[in-house]
């Protein structure tokens, strides 16, 4: 679960602390440590808003703008989800983060036999534009940006988002969507992949290329170290792999003849926060610096604002426990504190009941309040990068920087990130680490409150979200209605054009938008890709 390893002597004094990334923490840090690492304010930190952005991307940090609150939300039908969106917004949430059900994530319509039992279960079901019309009804899409947690079929959902925005009268240039759209990490962890590596990365390239002109405020990818860490990676690997994955997407778009400054500024990231607080803060500070340096030195990026590592830091799912679930509320508060101390642009938290199932409105609002009270009561907006200059934090940031580079080097040596994912090299590595962590928890070598220390005999029951079978029936009924009412000639025409464009290797985005507007279904569009691209051959190793 990612806590540090502590060695103690007979008197219970700590003799060693080893962070998950493998860095040893000393009992005391002083000026000599900064000297030893050759610390230079200008080179290693610089002021906030200045290259290499270690201290943050904005000169005034949270004074100029608070972090966006964006709880992961969605279940059942689009109507139920729309109601929950509005509830969260009415409680002060400032962005949306849409959860899709598994059939949607895997490109199946709700009436597909593969979808049986899964419709609307872990997110909202989406079959056609009609569902987006319901889900985003009465939400100001010019004001509220939407994270779309979708990967294999992110291109289709981004097209659908544009279609719904236009239908509701919002220009393409005012809407801000952030589809997750990171397929390489799905292949490492989380597993919602469909197509093989090459066409899957090509689709991501299509969304980035398309967004340059058509969706200028959209962030077409959100590279997720998050799920890689959930799968067993260390914080250093989380950042390192994410940078390498982002580079793979950059390379795809560069090969189309674009200037890197034309698109890379819209990249965003999603990182995890659980475990040792100092290690989290240091990883983000080091991550910002390395991303900026990577862009400047490897890709020749010129514009400062294109080198920002912008991201959603939070979640912390793996840190939560089934045992003593209310402790997860406190855990979430500390994770949010770490994210805020590290200068996150957006924070979301897993809710305390998520070790059981998706959150209730009650638990989701507790998470939102956790973020709000940190923002408004605790002074986290007072000053930018408050931990800067600490002998410890600066030393650790430097050590994390070196560790991250080391992890990136290992992958380069294994043939590069795409190769390491296709062969299962990374999957095997993180699964082995996950097993070692789990053994550490079970042996008590890694401490986890309520799990291996301060345990209770009595399991605690919490009120849980209940799955509603009627939602699935309603969804399938709605899909049938759309199919009855739509103009089938338009559907056939737009799907045929999509098929042709896919075969010819063209950018599929404009064709997807037309399909969506004609109410072609997600399943119909995905089937075209499945037939032409085939499916990813998973190296199912452990």
């Amino acid at each position: 679960m990612g806590v540090a390893k502590y060695t103690k002597d007979a008197k219970d004094q700590i003799t060693d602390v080893t962070l998950q990334s493998g860095i040893h923490v000393k009992p005391l840090y002083g000026p000599e440590d900064l000297e030893k690492i050759g610390f230079s304010y200008e080179r290693d930190l610089a002021d906030p808003g200045q290259y290499p952005f270690t201290r943050g991307i904005h000169r005034q940090g949270y004074r100029s703008r608070a972090w966006t609150t964006r709880q992961y939300t969605g279940f059942g039908t689009p109507a139920e989800t729309n109601e929950r969106f509005k509830l969260m917004i009415s409680h002060g949430q400032t962005g949306l983060n849409v959860a899709f059900d598994l059939p949607t994530q895997m490109g199946y319509d709700s009436d597909d036999p593969m979808a049986e039992g899964e419709v609307g279960r872990v997110g909202m079901a989406v079959d056609s534009l009609r569902d987006f019309e319901v889900a985003f009804k009465d939400i100001n899409l010019a004001k509220i940006g939407s994270g779309l947690t979708i990967n294999a079929v992110a291109s289709i959902m981004l097209a659908m988002y544009q279609a719904v925005a236009e239908k509701y009268g919002y220009g393409r240039d005012v809407i801000s969507a952030t589809p997750q759209n990171d397929i390489l990490k799905e292949m490492i962890g989380r597993g919602s992949w469909i197509f093989p590596v090459e066409p899957a990365v090509k689709l991501i390239g299509d969304t980035i290329e398309y967004s340059i002109e058509a969706l200028p405020r959209t962030n077409p990818v959100s590279v997720c170290g998050y799920h890689i860490r959930e799968s067993g990676a260390t914080p250093a690997q989380e950042i390192g792999y994410a940078i390498l994955i982002a580079n793979a997407y950059i390379d795809n778009v560069l090969a189309r003849g674009y200037d890197v400054d034309a698109f890379v500024g819209r990249f965003s990231f999603n990182f995890n926060v659980f475990g040792n607080i100092w290690e989290q803060v240091a990883k983000f500070r080091a991550g910002r610096k390395l991303w900026a340096r990577n862009l400047k030195e490897k890709y020749g990026v010129k514009k400062d604002s294109n080198m920002y590592l912008r991201g959603l830091f939070g979640g912390g799912g793996y840190g939560l426990t089934k045992a003593q679930p209310e402790n997860n509320i406190m855990r979430g508060a500390y994770y949010a504190l770490s994210a805020a101390l590290a200068g996150a642009q957006t924070i979301a938290l897993c809710s305390y009941d998520e070790a059981y199932t998706i959150p209730t409105p009650h638990s989701a609002i507790i998470s939102l309040r956790t973020l709000q009270l940190l923002m408004d009561e605790m002074g986290l907006r007072d000053t930018v990068d408050p931990l800067a200059g600490s002998y410890f934090i600066e030393t650790l940031t430097k050590e994390m920087e070196q560790k991250i580079e080391e992890e990136m080097g290992r992958i380069e040596k294994a043939g590069g990130i795409t190769q390491a994912v296709a062969t299962g090299y990374i999957q095997r590595l993180v699964a082995r680490q996950a097993y070692e962590f789990e053994k550490g928890i079970q042996s008590g070598e890694l401490l986890k409150v309520g799990v291996n220390i301060y345990t209770d005999e009595q399991p605690m029951d919490v009120e849980l979200h209940e799955y509603n079978w009627e939602s699935a029936e309603k969804q399938i009924e709605g899909l049938k209605q759309v199919k009855r009412e739509r103009n089938n000639r338009d559907v056939a025409r737009t799907l045929a054009a999509l098929e042709q464009a896919t075969k010819e290797g063209k950018n599929v985005m404009p064709y997807l938008v037309e399909c969506c507007k004609a109410y072609a279904t997600l399943g119909e569009m995905t089937a075209i890709f499945r037939n032409i691209y085939g499916e990813f051959d998973e190296p199912s190793l452990f």
């Binding site: 598994l102 059939p103 994530q105 895997m106 199946y108 593969m114 979808a115 049986e116 039992g117 899964e118 279960r121 872990v122 799905e186 962890g189 989380r190 597993g191 919602s192 992949w193 959930e230 799968s231 067993g232 426990t321 089934k322 045992a323 070790a355 059981y356 199932t357 998706i358 699964a431 082995r432 996950a434 097993y435 789990e438 053994k439 079970q442 799990v451 399991p459 029951d461 849980l464 799955y467 998973e538 199912s540 190793l541 452990f542």
Partner: protein, 134 residues
């Protein structure tokens, strides 16, 4: 006969859920406990899982389910297991399983339910005891 050879376990990921950390971690643990482990990989249908169980002649089918769809998946699997006449194979379930569903799964014919966080030793002991009895 069975206790004269290694216990053979199929670790399966049914349905569309792609969270495989738990499945792989348990696969490692069972292997280290001396069992032969076959892992199906992701996104398997119930029919595929039952087919692999028959082909590989496993003793145990272990399902890892994190999506909340454990009841419909297990219903379908137990039906298929009955149809194929492999009711002698023990079915166990792990994953994100709320406490109140444990009895329901057992009523459907699941021999053991091991929610996330269960110590490996509990799973290993359970399998050893039950396969030997069979």
């Amino acid at each position: 006969m069975k206790n004269q050879r290694e216990i053979k376990v199929l670790v399966a990921k049914p349905g569309l859920d792609g969270h495989d950390r738990g499945a792989k971690v348990v696969a490692h643990a069972l292997k280290e406990a001396g069992m032969e482990v076959i892992y199906t990989g992701l996104h398997r249908t119930v029919d595929q899982i039952v087919r692999i169980a028959i082909q590989e002649d496993v003793d145990i089918i272990g399902l890892s389910i994190m999506s909340g769809a454990h009841i419909p998946i297990v219903e379908k699997l137990m039906k298929k297991v009955g149809q194929e006449g492999i009711g002698d194979k023990m079915v166990i379930v792990g994953g994100v399983i709320p406490n109140k569903d444990i009895a329901r799964l057992e009523n459907l014919g699941v021999s053991g339910v091991f929610p996330g966080g269960t110590p490996f030793s509990d799973i290993v002991t359970f399998i050893n005891d039950h396969v030997k009895q069979a």
